[in-house]
Point group: C2
Chain length 335, copies 2
């Protein structure tokens, strides 16, 4: 069998991630054991959480130098030593930055016949389900309430704002730069968007939320979380989804007012991962599909071409250059 | 009518509270208007929250120099201009550090015939209900889980640990000093207690919670909250009841790991005040009474004698010198 191309971690970053923290190598095609699948990578997800994996153990083990960089990917089974899987099956699971990876059959999910395949990374994938479950089950927005989401132009943020609108709430996005903010309002229908890079960010956010904040969906942590807590109404809900401001740095910033503001305003802050609500995935996918089909939710994807695009693509994602779900196409869809 | 004795705020503290931030004065007996009651003070509650009121608006308006110091008190109606209230009625409500105060009839609660009156400040009062509602409705301890409570020897803490035991959980207290810690275990039946003043505090807490922390009832914030978050299990619940470490100081300390640990461990942190669960007071009082009558819960009270004891009593409470519910007896119970 031919060789496989892999991108490995050359050195762990201590501060900002750079593309040269990775290097490309060629290796012999892996062989599989009982219960395993050899999978040809089609799409690889790029996520801020990838950077957190380099800081140490999170909800999964840490990655280390010499490892093929981990990722969530969709691919085609080319060889199976597991019952129920055959070459040609399309599966999703924990893969690596590589043209081919080995997956455990019991840890993969089958991908339905719904196409395009990219939607299984966005609308119907982890991004869409994370937005849905976090907002609906922890944020619990009521019609007329104000929902604020940070990293609003990102993979999860675009859905949070649009779902908020779909259930009758006001959606306010926080993003970097005037252009992105205008895009959130003009293209995705957010009621307002605020540039966190502006020197008047706090006042801008306050002005965008004249009735205060009822639900804050936090993807970033740090000073933006702090601002949202100060502007929260009594009994506001803070959905703790990520802390991207804390991933690509050696400097951690804790928001002031913890636990003081939580006590005084009787706030709820709650973290989650998408699997916590796996028993409600069917309802999530049904709602998301319906809103998409009715035009209430737009899908925005940022697909980079070729395995080699991954390192710079992740660096750029951490700088916020993407709009919507960023992924890498390693190979064309099977015909 | 005779004069009234009042203790007023002479100057707001900027750092540690001292007794000389207050001064005593004599004033003319207040007159009341329609809807008001003149109440002779019997018992005044001393609470860490009193100090927070001096930092600015909390769940109630701030207090300011020249104000009679606010308090929650129990007293006897001596004059009524409100329907349904007569001299001799025993009521509880927002009063002041004074022999007599004016209360709005619609803002007071009638005290039942249950005696001793002091229990309406502890077991059946705000302390007991705060412990019960916070632990049961936010902490939701399951049998066999580990519940940790800070300020464990304080008015709320003693009940949190004992309620945890009553529902089959393991109770670990955090308190200041070896003597208090021994008392929590020997007298109140906590499974373990840890001295936060010890240089090995973190390791001690870790050793006292070999299975990690499932519920942390936080009365203090700061570094102790931080330690508890680091030792929390996945999906642990943190009951944000108070932040006494942050009240009597100009220096605020935010715990590290917010929101990182909340995300990674999928923690829930939630603030509350006792009134949030007012619709479940009856169940709380029934359970608390039953546990008291069966000997599962002991009541510990720290009753200081005389109005003049209030300033030093509050200063001492902030230093942690009390065990159980601290209050001031201003006048004997009516016979």
């Amino acid at each position: 069998m031919s060789d496989v191309t892999q991108i490995v971690i050359r050195e762990l970053p201590t501060d900002n991630l750079r593309a040269d923290h990775f290097e490309t190598r060629t290796a012999a095609m892996p062989t599989i054991e009982d219960g395993q699948l050899l999978v040809r990578t089609i799409l690889m997800s790029l996520d801020a959480a990838n950077r957190a994996w380099m800081q140490g153990a999170t909800y999964r083990e840490a990655v280390k130098p010499g490892d093929v960089m981990h990722t969530y990917s969709i691919g085609e089974v080319v060889e199976s030593k597991a019952d129920g899987f055959s070459p040609g099956d399309i599966v999703a699971g924990e893969g690596g930055w590589a043209t081919h990876t080995v997956m455990k059959a019991r840890a993969v999910a089958r991908i339905s016949d719904y196409r395009p395949l990219t939607h299984h990374m966005s609308l119907l994938g982890i991004a869409g389900k994370t937005a849905y479950h976090g907002l609906m089950h922890i944020g619990e927005p009521k019609a007329g309430e104000t929902v604020v989401v940070s990293a609003a132009a990102g993979s999860v943020g675009i859905f949070v704002g649009q779902i908020a609108k779909a259930v009758g709430a006001r959606a306010v996005g926080i993003a970097g730069g005037a252009e992105k903010c205008a895009w959130l309002v003009d293209e995705l229908g957010f009621d307002a968007a605020v540039d966190y890079k502006s020197p008047t960010f706090f006042k801008d956010l306050q002005a965008a939320c004249p009735g205060g904040i009822d639900v804050y969906f936090d993807n970033v942590g740090g000073k933006i979380l702090e601002a949202a807590m100060f502007l929260s109404n009594l009994k506001a809900r803070i959905v703790c989804c990520g802390a991207v401001s804390q991933y690509d740095t050696a400097e951690m910033t804790s928001p002031k007012g913890v636990p003081g503001l939580i006590v005084v305003k009787r706030l709820k802050m709650q973290g989650f991962i998408v699997m916590d609500f796996g028993d409600q995935d069917a309802a999530a996918l049904a709602d998301l599909s319906n809103w998409y089909n009715s035009g209430q939710i737009k899908v925005v994807e940022d697909v980079l071409e070729g395995l080699d695009a991954a390192p710079a693509g992740l660096v750029g994602l951490l700088k916020g250059e993407n709009r919507g779900k960023r992924m890498v196409r390693v190979a064309p869809d099977p015909s």
